[in-house]
Amino acid sequence: MTGQALDFNPSTELRTSLRQSRARAGIIGLIGVLALAAGAFTARDQFFRSYLWSYIFVLGITAGSLSWLMLQYLTGGAWGVVIRRPAEAAVRTFPLLALLFIPIALGTSSLYSWTQPTTDATLLVKQARYLNVPFFLVRAAVFFAGWIFLSWFLNRWSAREDREGPVPANSRMAAISGPGLIFWAFSVTFMSIDWVMSLSPHWFSTMFGLLFVIGQGLSGMAFLVTVLVFLSNFRPMSEVLTPRHLHDLGKFLLATVMVWAYFAFSQFLIIWAGNLPEEIPWYVERLRGGWQYVALLLVFGHFALPFALLLSRDLKRNFKLLASIAVFILCMRVVDIYWMVTPDSSKGSLSVSWLDLAGPLGLGGIWLAYFLIQLEKRPLMPLNEMELAEALEHGRE
């Protein structure tokens, strides 16, 4: 099979299916957003909490896709060619996410205790040089500027590659991806400190940024696997994807799940062993009053179960099973972020607000609908990629 023989534009059946999924996602998203809007007036503090963690989950999928998109330009390989277009469509949602950040920017006084004037310990006074609202917003603006720039640059050159061939687009995209990945890792580290760690301003963990870096990578890969398996039901991707492509991506899922467990346990072990009064309360708060069961769920659902299942070669080559695991991992990402963000505000006991349901459905639905619009816009494989023929041969006799 050669690249020229195939039309990589979405087929008619795929367009119909995309339109249906988009409508469904859009309606769910709209209902969620209306519920969130109602919550914003009736339960202000709860609204901001729910909004914040839902937002961080959706952003994680997008920024995670950005990291895989840049990584595959640096490494090459058939897996990178097949995820490229879904990842490009995902990162084109950054402008929407920048818009959706506005409620968080407006809600800093409700979300973050460090915005309040304090006579508290010297620590908070010293922290004020870093943790103050103007600087917080400037940093957020820098994150978004970087992410949107990278996404714009990679999409623009990828479109030019389709029109004009791989020279010079290919080397341009590879050249931006190295510095881009470094920017991504730093921006995600600072983002996690600013938006999540500063919820409890006395607490700190040097592992926290890495936990978000790998968490985003996991969200991104799980999402891309889900999208590819969906696309594999329709032409043209039904002609392209082989079990071997999915096998490669499944290995990435396995590796990322393991690294997440490694980081999450390292942070826990260090803080547990140190048992210092300024560090340990974060875990004490998350291991009592019902939250300990959520933590146990994470140990089994976020690590043990996907780890054990993804060891199987047959499972990684089975489209439906791999997609089920990927969706399950995405659900666990929701639980993980919820468990990190929420316990401090619901002192002592686990209670799920209806806004914690409206948040992920609303933001997730709107985001997914926007993603599906983007996905339809371009051919589903890079037309002039130098490794295209190789990627199509991958896993065929």
Binding site: F265, F268, L269, W272, A273, N275, E397
Partner: protein, 177 residues
């Protein structure tokens, strides 16, 4: 079937002929056969059904045993033999055990992988009849060999040799015990 013959060996000068011949021989119903090549050939794994073996199970059991022994070692030391109060923690503080449990899982997993592989391959094996074929050393350079063992129920010196000769073999020779 003579007891003093190990089998019959066919020599090929390219991998495609070997793959075709192996496929044909398998379709005839031969089960006890093996191929010898200078480099791995993926198709042969499919034809000879070599994807699955017991090694992964051996490594799993080895890893679990390692993890269990690592955990219990620390449990017995810190809880039963030398109970010492460290920073007011419970004696059976499992988070502290995890690192050594993990390391021993890896250690015994790796050891069982290496020795399991050697055992499944039947190594060390100081003598093997295939080396009685004078040209067999070329299997490490540029020739491809297919050997059908006399232990196969379908084996018949004349018929099997005849079959191999029809399959583009460059040379077919008897393998002495």
């Amino acid at each position: 079937m003579k007891p003093d013959v190990y089998g019959v060996m066919a020599e090929f000068d390219n991998p495609t002929d070997l793959v075709n011949a192996t496929r044909a021989v398998c379709e005839q119903g031969y089960k006890k056969l093996d191929t010898y090549t200078p480099f791995p050939i993926e198709e042969l794994n499919d034809i000879l059904h070599l994807h699955k073996n017991k090694l992964s199970l051996i490594v799993l059991v080895g890893g679990l045993l390692g993890g269990l022994s690592g955990f219990l070692l620390q449990y017995f030391v810190t809880v039963i033999y030398f109970p010492i109060n460290v920073a007011g923690r419970p004696l059976d503080s499992w988070p502290a055990y995890i690192i050594i449990t993990f390391e021993l899982t890896i250690l015994l997993g790796c050891i069982s992988a290496v020795f399991g592989m050697l055992a499944l391959c039947g190594l060390p094996m100081p003598y093997h009849p295939v080396f009685n074929v004078p040209r067999f050393s070329a299997a490490s350079h540029d020739r491809f060999f297919l050997c059908i063992e006399a232990a196969d129920p379908l084996f018949d010196m004349e018929k099997t040799s005849g079959l191999l000769e029809t399959l583009e073999a460059k040379e077919v020779s008897e393998v002495a015990h």
